[in-house]
Symmetry: C2
Subunit: 314 residues, 2 copies
Amino acid sequence: MKIGLDMMGGDLAPLEAVRGIQQFLARQHQATLFCIGDAAVVAPLLDEYGLASSVQLVHAPETIGYHEHPTKALKEKKQSSIAIGFHLLATGKIDAFISAGNTGAMLVGALFSIKAIPGIQRPTIATILPKLNGNTGLLLDVGLNADCKPEQLNQFAVLGSLYARHILGIDNPSVCLMNVGEEEGKGNLLAQASYPLLKQNTQIRFAGNVEGRDLFNDKADVIVCDGFTGNVILKMAESIYDIAQQRELAADPYFSRFHYENYGGTPVLGVAKPVVIGHGISNAKAFMNMIRVAEQMIATDLCGKMAESFAGNS
Amino acid sequence: MKIGLDMMGGDLAPLEAVRGIQQFLARQHQATLFCIGDAAVVAPLLDEYGLASSVQLVHAPETIGYHEHPTKALKEKKQSSIAIGFHLLATGKIDAFISAGNTGAMLVGALFSIKAIPGIQRPTIATILPKLNGNTGLLLDVGLNADCKPEQLNQFAVLGSLYARHILGIDNPSVCLMNVGEEEGKGNLLAQASYPLLKQNTQIRFAGNVEGRDLFNDKADVIVCDGFTGNVILKMAESIYDIAQQRELAADPYFSRFHYENYGGTPVLGVAKPVVIGHGISNAKAFMNMIRVAEQMIATDLCGKMAESFAGNS
């Protein structure tokens, strides 16, 4: 399998990307890495870390900055690492693409170069939830779709369930609806209308509503919500780590799991090929984890399984 | 001033209510307390704690349980402590009413016995946010209005601003909109439509959007959002304390501020008289804090100030 990595994306790139690659290659792996970036900068670093012969360098003379308008930048900078990455992915030269660069450009690229799997109304982005019992849960949508329709939440439930099963290794994951009470009928109009759809959905194991207090317990493996609520939760969860750090408790084994470097990036789910978006301040460990997530997504043919699930809907 | 306290509401009532009264009366105070509950149970406890001559006991032979239907229970149990409390408040026999009992019944009582201040579309409930810098912020709505219209968020901003100024003692509090990005134009349809209203509102000091990561920093004194989002945040914040407890970090001075007992209950804002709703597991300290909040609401004539603010809207 071939994984493309944007070497120019992220505050700490390309150095931490190179170091992440080194960490990834030092462990057992199945992937060939395509390092997409400015050869003048990246090649010497790969040399320095003894990786030049272990990876494929793809020269990308341009870079999309953090504050550039995503659609405009992708259109105008065809030689940027993100544009080239999506071109390689769309044409089958690589099997997954990863970047910690401009998030908007990554989403535009995923949605318009790679496109949604037929039958999926809107792709989604997910985040990992560290559970107190040591397990890992999944929350989606975390910001791609600020306003959602019930049928979208119902589709997120299937996508999240497949991700939990194949990438997080959870057999028959429970799926819950984020809500403001436990009983059916509770919630805003979206939650009220989504509950019956989830209940009838035979592709998931629906386990009812959860509340804000249940994010880190073992009630749900997968939690679905609109992207507004999910983004607030995601950023609040990230701030828990900051709080722990400020209280000098960040070394606590549980709180440390809230650190972005352990997430392995945010997968875009529902598009036809694996795309992983990294945190802007991704370090070596974060890059390594993103590459590992992409590797698992390819190895399990997650996108193919998602396509099968929605084959009847298109 | 006269404050009515439901002695029967809460898992730990009436014992912890009595102990909370004792703590309240031991400090400097201005209030006469009306203890509403079953005299057969409450009177001996007041005696035991030496409080019989310091408070007014109001006999209420009935109690509304946690799982009773709020409207039905209030209608059928006219001799319940909650029904009597609202009757005393509505008829001016007491100046504030507090209960840690059936939340739904307290909300129904507040909305229908006491009613909204003229000009206010929907009353709201708020929660305290412990800030890392030692200050206290306010978040509203936290669950009374799962779906909101932009004008409601704009009214919550004024109510929250007045509460922050008069009860939390924050001069000229900043008010922010909970959102998924910093720039104007970000967010779901509600946030997008609310932003210009807040920006034009001369009764508040609007300071733009905040994100989930800003709940505990000093960006905003008051944060407004719909009750669905606010309830998820509230319960997630409560779970931070549970996490700290499970990690044996609950003694940390910051995390301990997330403990419900320090909140002083949830004020219902936008109704004509002070109503405070307690957590179901309120202990003595929580009861004491609720009484103190009610005392401050009366002393500052908060409801009168809210009525003035909305006098032009009705």
